[in-house]
């Protein structure tokens, strides 16, 4: 979606409470937001869809607060990330941070493929590290945007990425 069209839709939502315009924004961004949350929840489709719905509802409610300094997608990702964090906090899901490897169907023999190994490795990362990895590598976002989404200084994001890379390397070297 072009930035101008996006701005026109946001203006229609804010000024005239145009829900059809908001529907177009949801259509345009739902795929990316759902994929981001699906990766953060380590493949829980139902949970990621629920969180994505909450994300868009919060975006609609807070649309007047959107200043346009960051892009709309960065703003949406930030809401999605906050939504995921509050879900984890709310349910005291420490298990989300470190999902046991056997829950992914990984066994001890070394015949597992590389993709499953990466999944397992990601499970061993903390939420902040995993989010930084997802945004930087998978979503191809620059550090500046990752920092905005995670509301962290750029240096902290870099150290999260560095730590995550070390852990991934360590993990992948074993296979």
């Amino acid at each position: 979606m072009k930035k101008l069209d996006e701005l026109a839709l946001i203006t229609r939502c804010v000024l005239a409470d145009d829900r059809q315009a908001f529907g177009q924004l949801v259509d345009a961004y739902q795929g990316r937001v759902r994929r981001f949350l699906l990766n953060l929840t380590m493949g829980d489709a139902a949970l990621s869809d629920d969180l994505a719905q909450e994300t868009f509802i919060k975006a609609y409610v807070g649309l007047r607060g959107f200043k346009g300094v960051a892009s709309f997608s960065t703003w949406l990702y930030r809401i999605a990330y906050n939504e995921f964090c509050s879900h984890v906090r709310g349910r005291h899901e420490q298990a989300m941070e470190r999902i046991p490897a056997d829950s992914l169907g990984v066994n001890d023999d070394h015949s597992i493929d590389a993709s499953l190994t990466v999944q397992e490795a990601l499970c061993h990362l903390g939420i902040a590290e995993r989010t930084a990895v997802m945004l930087f590598y998978l979503e191809d976002r620059p550090i500046k945007q990752v920092a905005r989404i995670m509301q962290l200084p750029e240096g902290t994001v870099k150290s999260h990425l560095h730590r995550a890379k070390q852990r991934l390397r360590q993990f992948l070297d074993n296979y």
């Binding site: 908001f22 259509d27 699906l38 869809d49 509802i57």
Partner: protein, 103 residues
């Protein structure tokens, strides 16, 4: 931050194992159904803007028709009529949109 060869390897592995998002045609309707009702104040402000714009349009039409020479109709007059018609239709459309119930 520059991306190294190792970064490219991570990207490749991540993209290979990235979970595909299934199509969900009901996602947008569900979100729209769950949106909170709009605050009345916003609609009143918009309705007021439409009303003022409508009155201005009426004034402009009266001014345009009064100054109109019935015998001579120039290209400029046609231009004015087209612009005024477009503005009036836009104001009327917005007025209808605001007046219609949302739910």
């Amino acid at each position: 931050m520059k991306r190294s060869q190792e970064d490219s390897q991570i990207v490749r592995l991540l993209k290979e194992q990235s979970r595909p998002v299934s199509e969900n045609p009901w996602f947008t309707p569900r979100v729209l159904n769950r949106l909170p009702k709009s605050p009345r104040s916003t609609r009143w402000v918009w309705a007021l803007i439409c009303l003022v714009a409508g009155v201005l349009c009426l004034g402009c039409w009266l001014w345009l028709l009064r100054g109109q020479d019935v015998t001579v109709f120039t290209i400029r007059d046609l231009y004015h009529f087209i612009i005024m018609s477009a503005i009036t239709l836009a104001v009327l459309w917005q007025g209808i949109v605001v007046a219609l119930p949302r739910d």
